[in-house]
Amino acid sequence: MSNEIDLNRRKALKAGSGMGLLALFGGLSLLRSTEALAEWNKAAFSSKAMDEALTSLGVTTTESNAAIQLTVPEIAENGSVVPVTVSSSLANVEQISILVDKNPSVLAASFTFPQGTEALVTTRVKMGQTANVVAIVKADGKFYRAAKEVKVTAGGCGG
């Protein structure tokens, strides 16, 4: 008898914890819906590896192209502020993304260019260590890639 009661108690406990999980998922889906409104590409920005980030950006194949100019310093004395300029003479540039292959979050920034805006952007990124800065340029629906190594003498994680 006491065993049976014990069993029921366990069932009740299980059900209770199930409810807790449900509530948690409810909360998560709420969060998701607000993100969808903002259209911020969470999957791409939380990617920990280059391949993962590229897939989340919808990049399948990339060609290297001499029409992309990626300007970065050869040596960065301060990894917390590394200037990066990407420009391209390709026609119909729609998007430029900047990635750092050894950072905890690989994708740094992604820019969308409406008609009439030049295919050029300068920003500054953090680099935890010596790594490749990769620029992905989307032009006429195709993806092009350029990469350059930046030697970091002091990491950007202490920020």
Partner: protein, 104 residues
């Protein structure tokens, strides 16, 4: 309340160059306080620049963008005296919009 951005817009030969300096900590969520507690991630996720109601640049940021993010871009059109506005939103839902007058 978030601090104002510094925006400088200059028109030359039919092209307006816009430089933006946002004031934001851009915490990665990986740094720790002296006592070892993790500082939560807090960073700008989206930036939008507009000229005469038309979007001239849209950006999405991740944690790897430096503290006090800097942006430079150029768009066709724009004359001295007209306005360029820039807004950002961060991952906590805070936002800020600032305006600058295009200089010659």
């Amino acid at each position: 309340m978030a601090n104002p951005m510094k925006i400088r817009a200059t028109a030359k030969d039919g092209v307006t160059e816009v430089k933006i300096l946002m004031q934001h900590d851009m915490e990665t969520g990986l740094r720790k306080e002296a006592d070892g507690t993790l500082i939560p991630a807090w960073f700008i996720t989206e930036v939008k620049a507009q000229y005469q109601g038309r979007t001239v640049l849209e950006a999405q940021f991740g944690q790897s963008v430096s503290k006090n993010p800097y942006l430079l871009f150029r768009f066709k059109g724009g004359t001295a005296g007209e306005k360029v506005s820039v807004s950002w939103v961060d991952n906590k839902g805070e936002s800020r919009t600032d305006e600058a007058t295009i200089a010659a």
